[in-house]
Amino acid sequence: MMKTKKFTGVLLSATMLVGLLAACSGGNNEPSPGTNGGESGDNGQPLTMSFFSADPSPNWAGMQDEIGKLLTERTGVVLDAEYAVGDPVQKIALIAASGEYPDLISAKQDVAKLVDVGAMLDLTDLIEEHAPNIKALFGDYMKRLRYSEDDHAIYVIPTYAAVDSQNFNAGGGFGLQHRVVKELGFPEIRTVEDFENAIRTYLEKNPTDESGNKNIGLTLNSDDWRMYISVTNPAFFTTGGSDDGEFYIDHETMEVTYHFRRPEEKEYFRWLNHMNATGLLDPETFVQKHDQYNAKIASGRVLGLIDQDWNYGDGENALKAEGKFDQTYGHYPVTMSEEYLETSFWPTGFMSGSGVGISVDNPDPVRAIKFLDYLASEEGQILLNWGVEGKHYNVVDGKRVIPADVNNRKVNEVANFQRETGIGLYTNIGAHYGDGVEDSTGNFYTTSFPEQLIEDYNDAEKEVLDAYGATLWKDLFPSEDNFPIKPWGAAWNIPIPGDHEVSVLDTRLRDITWKRIPEAILAKPEEFDAIWDAYMEELEKNGVERAEKGRQEFVEARVALWND
């Protein structure tokens, strides 16, 4: 009797707990997208459209920034944006599975999943009828907007790749703190050996910073997908290969190789192994998370980086905000040896690819395309890049000039400035011209052109560049003219269906690589070869050759699609 009573009690409390949970989770029904009504055309009433982006935008202010308010005024559209946190791949898979699509979607490479489920609208006719600015912007490149060989529909307006862009800014390569090169009398930084020596010499002289904390030689960012950026992609750049995702594509034969299988790259990882063995590589490299990595950089103790500026921007911006310009980073075109050219600037032509599309759930596609068309117009692009005339820039003698105080805030208080003004927040939402393209008044569309860039540089940066006889970081790197244009653009932006064999193989190979590369780097130098051989064998066992072959078919199809 006692027993059953007890049990009933437990059961009852368990039931009540469940009931409680159920009660808690009720009531916060999210407003479902697409319930906001609104008819075609501008009826004066702002229309709220939900928007999902696969890239994070931490400074997004819900269009309450200065540019955002103007955009709403001029286009009658308010974006209710959701930015992916963490791994966007899973979020997009969820959106595809749920059948409730945001009105506008920027899914980057994963757009294939959405197209598969029929979530994306074909924009061909919409652009033809309602988007003169988009048509003018892309011009001959319209062919590159087509989805695939079998499906010539346009599902996204490419918003990541800029049209006719010229690079002025070098944000990648190997990074060294300005204080390091300064103290060593500006030695040439051209090979990994130079880079290593600079770090070692400086570290021997200054094992700690002013407040007694240990300086760190080199640290990498290995958190999730950032592994590609900071750990594995540099293997391309330092060995004369062009970055094509996880694959190396021979320019002449178009033969595809899983890039870790190139013997040159083995030597790059051997060098990293050596850096670890000699204590120059931060022992926490493969344990730390992205925020810890940036916190470390913000502490100013990390001498060298191998990363892109946008990946360590938060850390570096914190240094700038504190005025520690000496501890921010320069960019150097480091390769394994002098025989290689650094390939950061291997040209791809207009990349098309990732961008914003309109979903089938959008209540008013015409208004949506008009909104996107406005972003692509001259007026729109000047607004997004420069801000509001008289507030963020002035026109002096027909030239757009950013006042010194505005520019100072823009460079040194990046986050706040962006949140208030919205400059830079909308660039990847609309199609746009690249750096170095002039508008109808003869001004550049974007704010990064040589003079403006130099103005943005801080004194420490200018001093270092001066010592190396350059005006821009880009000057140190081999320019685009050294390389032939890749007719396939870049392999990493060729969309591949989710359940295609190549995708499955890619995931498996990625898991192997992400396990083996850290293992090889952290191993004792004498064990490196054995681990590398085992890694190669494992790759072969898991179908690396099939993955290469499958990928090659996609590359060939892309070349045909873009150049017929």
Binding site: K6, V10, V287, G498, D499, L522
Partner: protein, 320 residues
Amino acid sequence: MEAITAKKPEKQKPKPKSGRFFKIALQQRYLYLMSLPFVIWVFVFSYLPLWGWTMAFQNFRPGRSFFDQTWVGFDHFIALFSDDRFFLALRNTLAMSFMGLIAGFTVPIILAILINEVRQQVFKRFVQTVSYLPHFVSWVVVAGIVTKMLSTENGAVNDLLMFLGVIDTPYQFMAKGNWFWSIVTAADVWKESGWNAIIYLAAIAGIGPELYEAAKVDGASRIQQIWHVTIPGIRTTIIVLLIMSIGHLVSIGFEKQFLLSNNLVREYAEVLDLYALNYGLGMGRFSYGTAINMFNSVVSILLLFIANGTFKRITKESIM
């Protein structure tokens, strides 16, 4: 009362069984009516989704009707069972759940008994509150705390061990695969013990004080009172909860593993749910994901029946 109602049917002639059932049902119609919403609720949320299992036998493409899907039979299961990574994930899942089960059972019980033995009311409340607070901290934050504590740079654990002279150089806890299971279990114990102790405390509170008094009169010490009164008093609760958590062995979620892992320990960190996420849902392979999930459910049910049967035989207590 009981005696009368129990006798009543005996007096009457035994009727055919079905007729009696309907008669009782009619008598108790209000009770049946009251339970109806819950039956529907369970049916809708627990049984209707089972229809989705059909996906595992198709090459499911979202947005198409059921009849337009291609059927592939057991292809996904064959792929699943011939994948090494799946077995790796299974091993990790079982290892971490067993460790979690053992630690997650003993610690809250001990904690509950210890808290119960504290006679000073204020202190007792304080300890209880503090111990269950971590339950409300999200795993993201806990993972951050754990990583920081075990860091080689000013991590509290390494600093302490160095101070005590146990090690000379900081130890990379987070980089060693064979530590991962223990770290996850320890973090889990820290986070959930206090919370899980609550139910045992409630059960202990239900034990009649006269039992303790009788034990005291018989000359039982504090330890003996715990052993002979407290523990037998909460035995039912323990076993019921144990059987229920055995049913959940395979589905331990993936939050902690996902947040605490890094590439160096991936071999030890990938659990079934993570595997399903990476190789199923994450790649848009819904059918494959469903196959994994079906396997999980079948194993869970098996484990539940085995555990229930075992306890029924040994202790005569069960939940079914």
